[in-house]
């Protein structure tokens, strides 16, 4: 069977599985819809959390980013796993004991304030929609490259599948499809990584292969060879970073706190039966996540090595099929600056901007570009997102592996999209409708609103996927920065510091939010030409500014709380209650 036939088969089978699970696990109540009835086994929840968390960015983009950033890519590896330590130790168990349905529920009740709840809802919706837009781009790339359908049709098919299981099953449907999606995506990630590790080093474990010696070159390890190869081409050494230490530090911390504060991850821990399960489940989740995250740096290094090997000094006409395939959808571009018909690869951008084709073919048969060339020797433009998807083809693996990777990429994008759409719909039906504007809603009515909100959110997400706003790639920093500067501190302080009151929490959240938003907006949109270390405050880039936003949030929350009235007795008792895993409450007076 052809690779494309296999891809249709794998993707079709996986979609049939997801829909089958959805029909089996319909939601009957709001508790089913919001938290899967609160009875999910910690291991199953760990898998679902891993699929929920690992998005198109983790599956498709991360290894590609690391491949091109080398050591600097560590910020993503550390930031997106270290956040689980914060989540497991500081947030998840207490929020589970709190026993409500949403993150704004906690902020609203702990800070006895409708305003605090609304601020939390706004943060949540903004963060989640930013994130969803990225997933849709991932779905579009996979469909257009591997199934050769129009990107728009691809997005519509993806939306239809999510619609069935998210609207029918709510959290219950999502949980069990995410378990299946985790299995698909991890299998799809590991199989090519193992193959390639064996090809390059002879060691089947990619985590060890990364440090192993290259086959046929005794005494030279993969990383040494990569350092040498890249330095020959004019790049910095792979294992050394270019970013300033303070920036690496700030980005890592912002990503960690942001991860712990992401609503769609937090609510997954509302689905386990009890407090101790929430802690265990975070541990299982991190094991499942680490399987991919410790493999990614190996995939990155192998991919970079293979890419240089396959491309540099190769005749365009002799390049393998994948090169012209990706060129066909504009993610690779080649400009034959010295007219030798061979591809020269090196440091620096080959030309200004992203490839703009004029529809004609050059003398070697390449798609002709209209971009202005730069004066370095590099002739190749390559989009980082293709590294994982193209990796099996670059390493000449069999067709079924390529088909598997397509199914895995879709599983990663769809599982995360579903989790995000669910928290958006819950925020609307529960926090805005039931808790704020229509407290008289019955459970059935609230459930109906949740389904309507989920359907609406899917339509909006689909629209964003088909007409991606130009700034999507620019605003990823927003989601983590804002979560780190607003939601994470508000929840953390609410649990560990009884004295933090309504005024302090709201002032802190708004300070963190406005500061972070303004800093990112200034450097990303208003003055992008100033977006470099010389102009950044303390040398911290917009990606890392959430760390400063978080510190400001803490400072303001403590200062304002200190000069205003302490929270009411009932709220202090609430804090006592969530701090202990069981019991009917804490006796304060021993009379």
């Amino acid at each position: 069977m052809s690779t494309q036939g296999l891809t249709y088969l794998f993707v079709g089978l996986s979609f049939a599985l997801y829909i089958g699970i959805a029909i089996w696990s319909r939601a009957g109540s709001t508790r089913d819809f919001y938290v899967a009835g609160g009875g999910v086994h910690p291991v199953a929840n760990g898998m679902a959390t891993a699929a929920d968390w690992m998005s198109a960015a983790s599956f498709i983009s991360m290894a590609g980013i690391i491949a091109f950033m080398g050591y600097d890519g560590s910020v993503y590896l550390l930031g997106w796993t270290g956040g689980y330590v914060l989540l497991a130790l500081l947030l998840a168990p207490y929020l589970r004991k709190f026993g409500e349905f949403t993150v704004p529920d906690f902020i609203g009740e702990r800070y006895y304030s409708r305003a605090a709840r609304i601020v939390a809802v706004i943060c949540l919706i903004f963060i989640s929609f930013t994130y969803v837009a990225g997933q849709m781009r991932g779905v579009g790339i996979v469909f257009s490259r591997f199934l050769e359908v129009d990107i728009n049709l691809g997005v519509l098919i993806g939306m239809a599948v999510v619609f069935v299981y998210a609207v029918l099953g709510g959290m219950k449907g999502i949980t069990y499809t995410q378990v299946a999606q985790y299995c698909v995506l991890i299998f799809a990630y590991l199989v090519p990584a193992i193959f390639i590790s064996i090809l390059i080093t002879g060691n089947p474990v990619p985590q060890l292969g990364l440090g192993a010696e290259v086959v046929n070159e005794p005494g030279v390890s993969v990383l040494q060879k990569l350092d040498l190869t890249l330095q020959d081409l004019g790049f910095a050494a792979y294992t050394a970073g270019l970013k300033d230490k303070i920036d690496v530090f700030a980005i890592t911390l912002a990503l960690m706190a942001g991860t712990a504060g992401l609503p769609h991850v937090i609510v997954r821990f509302f689905t386990v039966p009890k407090v101790s399960d929430a802690r265990l489940s975070a541990g299982y989740a991190l094991i499942f996540i680490a399987l991919l995250y410790t493999t990614a740096p190996a995939v990155a290094a192998f991919a970079r090595l293979n890419f240089v090997d396959a491309v540099h000094q190769t005749d365009y006409q002799e390049t393998p099929g994948w090169f012209s395939n990706w060129e066909g959808i504009g993610l690779i571009g080649w400009l034959d600056k010295n007219d030798d018909g061979k591809i020269q690869y090196g440091a620096g951008a080959p030309f200004e901007g992203t490839p703009a084709f004029n529809g004609e073919r050059g003398s070697s048969g390449e798609r002709k570009l209209t971009n202005t060339p730069t004066d370095n020797a590099n002739e190749v433009y390559v989009d980082r997102d293709i590294m994982v998807l193209a990796n099996p083809e670059i390493a000449q693996l069999p067709g079924w592996v390529i088909a598997l990777v397509a199914a895995g990429g879709l599983a990663a994008a769809l599982s995360t999209a579903a989790g995000l759409l669910l928290v958006i719909s819950t925020a609307v039906s529960h926090d805005l409708m039931k808790r704020t504007f229509r407290p008289d809603l019955s459970d059935k009515q609230e459930l109906a609103y949740a389904r309507i909100a989920a359907a609406t959110a899917i339509v909006i997400a689909g629209y964003l996927g088909i007409n991606p706003p130009g700034f999507v790639a620019q605003v990823v920093a927003f989601a983590f920065g804002l979560a780190a500067a607003s939601l994470f501190p508000a929840i953390f302080l609410g649990i560990f510091f009884k004295r933090i009151n309504k005024q302090g929490a709201i002032a802190g959240m708004l300070t963190g939010l406005v500061f972070t938003f303004a800093y990112i907006a200034y450097f990303k949109f208003m003055a992008p030409e100033l977006n470099n270390a010389a102009h950044w405050w303390f040398g911290i880039s917009p990606e890392g500014i959430g760390t400063i936003g978080m510190l400001l949030n803490f400072a303001v929350a403590f200062a304002v709380s200190a000069v205003t009235a302490p929270p009411p007795e009932k709220v202090q008792e609430l804090v006592d209650d969530i701090r202990i895993p069981s019991g009917a409450g804490v006796a304060h007076d021993a009379h």
């Binding site: 709001t30 508790r31 609160g38 009875g39 690391i66 050591y71 890519g73 560590s74 590896l77 550390l78 796993t81 270290g82 689980y84 330590v85 497991a88 130790l89 500081l90 589970r96 004991k97 709190f98 026993g99 409500e100 349905f101 985590q207 990364l210 440090g211 192993a212 390890s221 990383l223 294992t239 970073g241 230490k245 530090f249 890592t252 039966p273 009890k274 407090v275 101790s276 802690r279 265990l280 975070a282 541990g283 991190l286 094991i287 680490a290 410790t294 740096p297 008792e573 701090r579 202990i580 895993p581 069981s582 019991g583 009917a584 409450g585 804490v586 006796a587 304060h588 007076d589 021993a590």
Partner: protein, 120 residues
């Protein structure tokens, strides 16, 4: 019976009950008990001590070994890696997993000792 109900109501005046929450954890054998302030505060202190210790390890392995001291550690070869690079792209992640399980297991012990565990 009536007397214990009275007792219960008298206690209620000083106890926060969050019974109306829609997603309370499942029943544990301590659920009916009102727990003394002293047990709770010594439980909480033990928890904070444990947290601080584990977070110190979390910080040292990721921010310390992987970022702040990466150049010094990179001078040490480690199974084909430079050691600082290994901590940043592999080692810290393994430590994170261990930390969470250590916390889960140690907390269970602390909770049982103070009579606040959520065992069935």
């Amino acid at each position: 019976m009536a007397e214990s109900d009275d007792q219960r109501q008298a206690d209620d005046a000083h106890v926060y009950h969050h019974d109306e929450a829609g997603n309370r954890p499942v029943q544990g054998h301590h659920d009916a008990e009102v727990i003394g302030e002293q047990a709770v505060s010594s439980y909480w202190r033990a928890n904070i001590r444990l947290l601080l210790g584990l977070l110190a390890v979390w910080f040292i392995t990721s921010f310390g070994f992987g970022i702040l001291f990466v150049d010094e550690l990179n001078k040490i070869p480690f199974f084909g890696f430079d050691m600082g690079f290994w901590w940043a792209q592999q080692g810290a992640i393994y430590v994170f997993i261990i930390l969470i399980f250590v916390y889960a297991i140690a907390m269970k012990r602390i909770e049982r000792r103070h009579g606040v565990d959520d065992d069935a």
